[in-house]
Amino acid sequence: MDCLTGVADQFWDQTRNGLVVGAIYAMIALGYTLVYGVLQLINFAHSEVFMVSTVVTLHATTEWYGVTEPLHGVALALILIGVLLPAMLASGLAAVTLERVAYRPLRKRGAPRLSFLISAIGASLAIQYLFALMDGQHSLLFVPLPDLLGPSPRAIPEIMSNDTLFTVFGTTITNKHVLVIVVAVAMLFLLDTFVRTTRTGRGIRAVAQDPEVASLMGVNIDRVIVATFFLGGLMAGAAGVLFVIRLNAPAGFLIGFLPGIKAFTAAVLGGIGNIRGAMLGGLLLGMFEAHGTACIGGHWQTLIAFVVLVVVLMVRPTGILGERVRA
């Protein structure tokens, strides 16, 4: 099928697909960009922060609420809130713990940048494989590990049925599409507002600009950093819930790996350290992948994404929107 006719024929369908997928990438990308803005660190373990929320989603839907059939109306809204809040909190806490255990000791010792990078990668692998052991059959130092993920695959039940809500430009929009877009837009808007108007948000922007001057001006660096990780974790948590619900994805210890890499790519594409850049990068990446499939086929998706990244970086090394934590 010719690339241009393919893209033209499927334009609105693929745009919808790209925006929905991109919204999820954008939310995860925020975690990478916020932490980079404040610490100049690529938090590779952010993909595991995402993974934590998928595990919470699994347990919330199957064990706490016992969902077996798709829900509607008020029940659905309540369950969604009841899943989103714990999952986001869990991810936020995971991010904060990560900061405390993997990065703060290095910061306090004035360690070189490389140590942070190694710690990040190490933390990512350690958390992944710790969760790999949580299948109810392993113990760590004689303490039996909780059965979170075994036996795999652990699929979540269908929480919402897929109802077409309306059609625009010939594309059907279902309630799952609306859920993802609405939650993503709300989260992004709230984060943007938070960083722009609150005191902690100002602190984040100040530390991102110049940590020394910020501390001279009375900003508590440690608290700002914790807040940054927590916010990024909340975003990744929301992304995790939406990801699982949208795809009925089974929870697994490697589930964060690929979304993490793609979100990181999106953050760099939009301008690492730039919040709006992360959002833009996420949406753009989603669109390139979707339209790329219509153009030359799904197996080229990853290649297209990375070629675009390289080309953009060659022309604009700081990414599309540049490198500051702007709000």
Binding site: D13, N17, S152, P153, A155, N248, G256, A290, T293, H299
Partner: protein, 407 residues
């Protein structure tokens, strides 16, 4: 104080008598005074997302080995060990090193997947360890010249051809869309179907692959862009070459998106995992596999394994039969005079080479005779393949290749 000489003398005497006792044990050959301790390794995805395709075979193999061990006249004690690669070719080499390094290893049941077979075949072949696979179907495995490798099922060349024949003669679609997972199992299979379908005159509406399939990355794939592409192509039938961890979500997302196509997939999708991940989306899916999941053995499997039994007992009968083949090979090797694991390995190979269509091994799912050149099964492909349909959340038997396609 120096030790008195007479103490040294007694110590020497003690050591000598111990040595004599140890050496004197097996001086009478042929009499099964002691069972020989041997180890057989089962290589495959014992854990991980792909385990639904491997565990039924391993559980059934364990049943067979337990039967042999319980038999007083059987001349060996078989320990069935786990060689867990999670089905990944990357994780396989260290596992194979462990297997080859164990002096008690006499055979390998597996490797279960084709990718891991390619990764370790040379290791086993160089160490002269017979490795018999109950489930790895890639065609090129028989082309590496491995003398010690045997395949106890049909291969993807046959599978792809039969799937295409089914599509052409039974389904007769308006057009066919080819979807694959870019792995070295799914892509060749899908391309075989594509080539055979083209030859049969079926219109190919489109072809695409999944760039990061879940079988490789561990993350569920978002098929939305591919689903839109299929819809735009106007195809009414899709062949999916890949594994359950990808075909399951594909079926689920396609149904959710309202895509109305007939999906047909190969043996990588025939598992309980597919039904779990696809949910209602699996309804009406057609499947083909070189394993009879409705054979008489399956009842025995479910009884013996109990609560851990998989509802889709893919390759269970084949796993049981391969264990039987290895077990019989061990018996004949020992009866032929082998006493050490190294000799038993050679004896197993001699036994497997000796099976012909006139004197095959009678297994639960079929009879086994291996072609002397390729070590593939000497049987017509139509007899080796079985067709299923998903109805009411379960797999339903449509018959084997002979019944469905004739020949």
């Amino acid at each position: 104080m120096r030790k008195p000489r007479w103490l040294v003398g007694i110590a020497l005497l003690g050591v000598l008598s111990l040595v004599a006792a140890a050496c004197g044990g097996d001086d009478e050959g042929g009499q099964p005074a002691e069972k020989i301790d041997v180890t057989v390794y089962g290589q495959g995805a014992w854990t991980g997302g792909a385990s639904g395709l491997v565990l039924p075979a391993m559980q059934s193999a364990q049943i067979r080995f337990d039967e042999l061990n319980a038999d007083a006249s059987y001349p060996a004690t078989i320990t069935f060990e786990t060689a867990d690669t999670q089905g990944s070719g990357d994780q396989a080499p260290p596992v194979a090193q462990e297997v080859a390094g164990n002096p008690k290893t006499v055979a390998v049941l597996g490797p279960a997947f084709s990718g891991e077979s390619r990764a370790v075949g040379d290791t086993y072949n160089d160490n002269q360890i017979p490795f018999v696979t109950p489930s790895a179907t890639a065609v090129d495995l028989s082309e590496f010249g491995w003398d010690y490798w045997y395949r106890a099922i049909g291969n993807d060349g046959q599978q792809g051809g039969l799937a295409a024949e089914y599509v052409a003669s039974v389904l007769k679609p308006k057009s066919l869309y080819i979807l694959h997972d870019t792995t070295d199992y799914g892509q060749p299979l899908a391309e075989t179907v594509e080539a055979a379908a083209k030859k049969a005159g079926i219109k190919i509406a489109g072809k695409t692959g999944v760039s990061e399939p879940a079988i490789v990355t561990g993350t569920t794939v978002d098929f939305s862009s591919i689903i839109s592409d299929i819809e735009a192509s106007g195809a009414d039938t899709v062949f999916f070459g890949g594994y359950d961890v990808d075909s399951g979500p594909f079926l689920n997302q396609a149904a959710a998106a309202g895509l109305d196509v007939q999906v047909i997939s190969g043996d990588g999708s025939v598992s309980t995992t597919l039904l779990e991940l696809a949910g209602d989306g699996a309804e009406g899916t057609l499947l083909i596999a070189p394993s009879n999941i409705f054979s008489d053995f399956v009842a025995k499997y479910t009884d013996a394994v109990g609560a851990d039994a998989f509802s889709v007992a893919i390759y269970a009968a084949e796993g049981y039969d391969v264990a039987g083949l290895i077990g019989e090979g061990i018996r004949q090797a020992i009866e032929g005079g082998a006493t050490t694991p190294v000799d038993i390995r050679a004896g197993i190979k001699t036994y497997l080479d000796s099976l012909t269509t006139d004197s095959p091994f009678e297994g639960e799912s079929k009879t086994y005779a291996f072609d002397p050149q390729t070590h593939e099964l000497s049987a017509s492909p139509n007899q080796l393949y079985f067709f299923y349909e998903v109805k009411g959340g379960e797999l339903v038997n449509l018959g084997n290749g002979v019944e469905v396609l004739g020949g």
